[in-house]
Amino acid sequence: MALTTTTYGYTKERSGEARPVSPDIAAVEPGSLTFEINHMDLFYGDHHALKDVSMDIRTHEITALIGPSGCGKSTFLKSLNRRNDLVENCRITGDIRFEGKDIFREVDLLALRTRVGMVFQQPTPFPKSIFENVAYGPRLQGISHKGELAGIVEQSLRQAACWDEMKDRLNQSALGLSGGQQQRLCIARTLAARPSVILMDEPTSALDPISTQKIEDLALELKEKYTIIIVTHNMQQAKRISDKTAFFLLGELIEFDDTVKMFTDPSNPKTEEYITGRFG
């Protein structure tokens, strides 16, 4: 079924603008399925960017998406919170289900994006204070009580391991932080919106090794409560932190398996060539 896209992303036929919202914050059992993707194809105009991708993503696991640049791994990630709606000429067919519901037809767009948070390659703080950055998501959700906001901000900053270094400068501009701090602040901002999934698009590629280490540790901690899907070009990173790994090549999902199995005994020769560094 074709999907017409708009700049904002309210696609009438799929999301049904006025549909009553049911974000369904039911407790999800670990091991249950957060995302079920069946026979998904994605086109940018005439370009067939993702070909017949099927994948199940389990709750409270870290799934790493690897592959050479241009293989479609970021495009795939963007589809999960419907960020591709913002791209003109983008068309998706097939079935993507979040907690059992079709993300285009059965889940409200804003609710989906609230539940599926995103961390970008470059740190993207707003030109606001540290406090206001973190409080942005909760405010959108109708939380305006000062004490409640302060509580959420503190909790989120603690979870993202930046409370100690930022608690004395909450009212200063977030733009004054270092790159690594900004990235952890962005993770805190995402956590404050209380998502159940966090999408990370090469979150450490712009950071130094020490900051990278901190983010990786953080991801391992967050896994207890969140489902994490991370795009990375760093094979070692995928090996270190992920439970499952998916290898993309030229828009196709070549292999998807337990990380340990993928890195020790890949079943597809192309996967082996890639992770041993013969191309890419």
Partner: protein, 307 residues
């Protein structure tokens, strides 16, 4: 419904309302000049429909004696105002162009970066100076000065208006031309120098031809400003209702005629209608200037593509 659901429902609602209101503002913006055009058209065509004058009479006849009554019966020939406007515009352009070009070329090609940083904002500053201030200085300085060097019957003249306008449009033309010159790629200049050309040859054969479109746009914008300027011109031109025969004699323009007589002419009378027709003409002229700019730019891009 829980709080989150309520918040999301509200966000959707506000989003739809905002979209409608913002779009309305955008479309409303587009309607403003159309509305202005319609109103001017509605008042300006009375001359032809109500008072039965021909377009040719309005444009080409020099007899301006409309009756100040609703019955009409006078003569509505605006040729002397039209030629007055054209004469003043051309005069100011001729006076300002050498200086504008010299200043623009000096700023982009010759001046040191420090001098440029000083000159550019200084010149831009002058686009904002009120036209009545220009008119005031014209009256108190320029007119006595002109009188002392030329034997003029009146101190007010076409020349004085031309000079005042030349000073007024100098910043517009200069900044636009300087922008156009500055956007010519540096590598073209270097290539020209590499072939043994002097700075002047590079400017004349490479930089100016490349910046032609931008310079033309600047000149047209300057002309448009000169054509529409009312009060500064009115203060020094003398406002005599005659054809502009000599640089040293008073004349009238479309804008000075409107500003002088609109307040006194009877609402609904032939005189009034004639003035509205002149305003309509000014509106159409500024529209024509915009089209001309687009035409030139399209021509430039077409040429660029063919290469």
């Amino acid at each position: 419904m829980n709080r989150l659901q309520k918040a999301i429902a509200r966000a959707h609602r506000n989003d739809r309302t905002a979209k409608v209101l913002i779009t309305a503002c955008g479309v409303g913006m587009a309607l403003v000049p159309i509305l202005i055009g319609l109103f001017l058209f509605y008042r300006g065509t009375d001359t032809f429909t109500l008072f039965h004058h021909s377009l040719a009479e309005f444009l080409f006849s020099g007899v301006w004696s409309p009756s100040d009554t609703a019955e009409g019966g006078g003569k509505v020939g605006a040729a002397m105002f039209i030629t007055g406007s054209l004469a003043v515009c051309l005069l100011s352009l001729v006076l300002t162009l050498p200086f504008s070009m010299a200043a623009a070329i000096f700023m982009t090609e010759i001046a040191t970066p420090q001098a440029r940083r000083l000159l550019q904002p200084a010149i831009e500053l002058f686009t904002g100076i009120p036209s009545v201030v220009y008119g005031f200085v014209g009256l108190t300085v320029l007119i006595p000065f002109l009188k002392s060097i030329f034997p003029m019957p009146f101190s007010f003249s076409l020349l004085a208006a031309g000079i005042v306008l030349a000073i007024m449009i100098f910043p517009t033309i200069t900044t636009m031309s300087a922008d156009a010159l500055a956007s010519v790629p540096k590598s073209w200049r270097e290539a020209s120098y590499g072939l043994g050309a002097t700075r002047w040859e590079t400017i004349a054969h490479v930089v100016i031809p490349a910046a032609k479109g931008g310079i033309a746009t600047g000149i047209i914008l300057g002309l448009a400003r000169a054509m529409g300027e009312a009060l500064a011109v009115a203060m020094v031109i003398g406002q005599m209702k005659v054809f502009p025969k000599s640089l040293f004699l008073p004349a009238s323009t479309l804008t000075t005629a409107i500003s002088a007589d609109m307040g006194g002419a009877m609402e609904g009378g032939e005189y009034n209608a004639g003035l509205w027709t002149m305003a309509l003409l000014l509106f159409l002229l500024s529209f024509a200037f915009i089209f001309l700019i687009h035409y030139i730019n399209d021509l430039a891009t077409l040429k660029g593509e063919r290469k």
